[in-house]
């Protein structure tokens, strides 16, 4: 049963390829010793709980990769410890190219500085394949809050006897770090109010318990569209195509850009031929118009980085967040 299905799928794939491409593929496979990857279902480890942005992005990507590579992609949610539990498991997996990871800003950008005892190296212990999507953080406010711009927020924070409250989805998250950066850059007196995830924090912002929140655009997008909160500033380099009316931090005179990102990675030592094929398939999936529209609606920008480009990107992110994490005072033993 299984062998018949595999044969059929294999046959279809071979038939569809032009002759020279097939020859190329075969020689590549022969030289690297990975004949006809993938030969079995691929586990895609999502180091977050199901239902979140990373999970949704992973599922959409998995669907596309499955159609292109002819093997099912199985999403495995392994949440825990700021996405480091799942990441560590993939770092230790065999580089047989059947275990992949949704690498992300938490586990591969911030954790290397935040966690004192992290058991993996975000760059060396992985084969980074492709940047999948990045999305900006955004400051949102309760609609009744009297400060339409960042300058107002900073002014009000200095006028209030004990500063201004800003909520985030958690201590040590990129959204928290943006609050720290904003406090420094705008000379604002901010009082960080951490929550257990974006949902409860958003509830309190809508209710007016906390006037402001630093959130990732995908989780805030719906609430902004519905008017239950007001977007104050987008932490992207340029205005976001889905929210062209929301000014950026830079436009408001505060030079801050904060994107959270997700990418596709595997354990260190994956054969270059497989990495190449996976990277090309991923880029092709990300170029599909249907997926691009969905990602943009979610508030994200599809990535377009080569394996070496993504590796450099991760390295740069680790270096970039290190001083910010230290300034925030957050540290996990």
């Amino acid at each position: 049963m299984l062998s018949r299905r595999a044969l059929l799928a294999g046959g279809a794939a071979v038939a569809a390829l032009p002759v020279d491409a097939r020859a190329q593929d075969l020689s590549a496979a022969a030289s690297s010793g990975v004949a006809a990857w993938p030969t079995q279902p691929i586990r895609l480890v999502v180091p977050f709980a199901p239902g979140g942005t990373t999970d949704l992005v992973a599922r959409m990507l998995a669907q596309g990769l499955q159609d292109r590579l002819g093997q099912p992609f199985i999403i495995e949610n392994r949440p825990g410890a700021g996405a480091t539990v799942g990441s560590q498991q993939v770092a230790q997996a065999a580089p047989d190219c059947h275990t992949l990871l949704m690498s992300n800003i938490a586990s591969h950008g911030i954790a290397p500085t935040l966690y004192r005892t992290l058991r993996y190296d975000a760059v060396k212990d992985f084969t980074h394949v492709a940047l999948v999507v990045s999305n900006p953080s955004v400051f949102v406010a309760n609609p009744r809050f009297a400060g339409p711009t960042l300058a107002d927020v900073a002014r009000l924070s200095r006028e209030a006897p004990r500063g201004i409250d800003i909520a985030s989805s958690g201590s040590g998250s990129s959204n928290h770090l943006l609050i720290v950066q904003f406090g420094q850059a705008a000379n604002a007196r901010v009082n960080h109010v951490p929550y257990r995830g974006a949902g409860p924090a958003m509830t309190d912002v809508i209710a007016g318990v906390v006037p402001l929140m630093s959130d990732s655009l995908p989780s805030a997008a719906g609430h902004i569209r519905q008017g239950s909160v007001r977007a104050v500033a987008m932490a992207s380099a340029e205005r976001h195509p889905a929210f062209p009316e929301v000014p950026t931090f830079r436009e408001q005179g505060i030079d801050l850009v904060s994107d959270s990102w997700f990418g596709l990675s595997g354990p260190a030592g994956m054969p270059p031929a497989v990495v190449q094929r996976l990277s090309q398939s991923t880029l092709a999936v990300l170029a599909e118009p249907g997926l691009r529209i969905r990602f943009t609606e979610l508030g994200g920008t599809p990535g377009a980085l080569s394996p070496s480009g993504y590796t450099e990107f991760v390295r740069a992110e680790v270096a970039r967040w290190a001083p910010v994490v230290r300034a925030s005072g957050a540290e996990v033993g």
């Binding site: 709980a49 199901p50 239902g51 949440p79 825990g80 539990v85 958690g170 201590s171 949902g199 409860p200």
Partner: protein, 499 residues
Amino acid sequence: MDLLGNLAHGFYVALSFQNLLFALIGALIGTAIGVLPGIGPVATISLLLPITFGQPATTAIIMLAGIYYGAQYGGSTTAILLNLPGEISSVVTTLEGYKMARNGRAGAALATSALASFFAGTVATVVVAGSGPLLTSVALSFGPADYFSLMLLGLIISAVLAQGSVLKSISMVVLGVALGLVGTDVQTGQQRFTFGVPELSDGIGFVALAMGMFGIAEIILNLERPEARSVLKTKVGSLFLTREEFRRATPSVLRGTAVGTCLGILPGGGASLSSFGSYMMERKVSKNRHLFGTGAIEGVAGPEAANNAAAQTSFIPLLTLGIPSNAVMALMVGALIIQGIQPGPRMVEAQPDLFWGLICSMWIGNVMLLIINLPMIGMWVKLLQVPYKFLYPAILVFCCIGSYSINNNVFDVYMTVLFAVFGVVCSKLKMEPAPLLIGFVLGPMMEEHLRRAMLLSRGDPMVFVERPISATMLAIASVALIAMLLPSLRKGKEAAMAG
């Protein structure tokens, strides 16, 4: 459109062949996974999520909602038959339900659970349909200080749960709070009591704790006493409720429905309080409170009604604010977002098919569950007649799969084993596990709300008495505390006078 028109439209959507079919499929899958210990709706829905990509949004959400209720029903079944709570809500069901099963009234307990759930589900559905958007403002008027006071009230009243010594029960609550504090501190991000184990940084899993301390510990104890196993094989008695049982259960169902409907609306952990709340209430106000601890039907009927009512009304924050109140709801939001729909206040106008179709299918799902479950009671009860030597390895295997599937991590299986051993020790010391679980669930939430309230008030504790909701809760809590202490004080005084 008025309410009746909306409901008519909703039924028109929900009763289409496709939607009806998927409501049934959802209810069946939900019941099945609910019965398998530990395999919860979260794992199932995340597995089935890709299937929903190709379905219309309404159909998808109707199926997922069916799984959610189905799991609630199924979870009660294992709690009653095997002392295996899969969720916070069914912990309470084990208290009287499992005792009823051991008294040969498993069929009656299951029927009570199904009928109470159905009744409560119906009432709560009407509440959601009639005043959902209105109730949102109630949910939003609860600030951190109010949640803290509500949880404190719950914790104080939970001393009522003590079946034996009050001192032992309080120490179990405190131990539960301590266990609940393991993990990353929300305010500072610091790790507490994790001993450098990354798997502990998100805290101890509820399923590992509950399954170990209740279900597996019970298996070990059963294996230890051969005579206890034969109890399971005694005659099962009438499968249905006697008239007397029906009369006893009715007022409890009504009270449970009211408690669950109100608490379910609160997104900050109200639903998990509902079955505890109802159980405590029954132990105080029911006419047969002296029977509690020996298999009182009131202790099954009330909490089961409360639990299902809360499961229903916990859709209100999701549908009107777009904010999920638990992991299952988060998955449903994910399913909707993939479909390009943002749940929230505008969904009622923007997606009337989805909104009213879902509400009506909630009720249809409850009818289906009743139809599926009532005839199956006989079958479930027969399960108890399976020789224990075949039954217990099967339960252990499913517990193992269940605890693994939560985070796809073997660590949770080890934790389950650890808590099973701990559960046996507690049982030997006559320490009840239920108060520990209440402390475990409420403790961390209380701490979080307390510290957030203090953070927002810049350290001014007056916030707890200045806010009317919080002040009321605290007043009730103090009255409860005094009422609990007075009899013992008076007794002491009388003894002193006599002496």
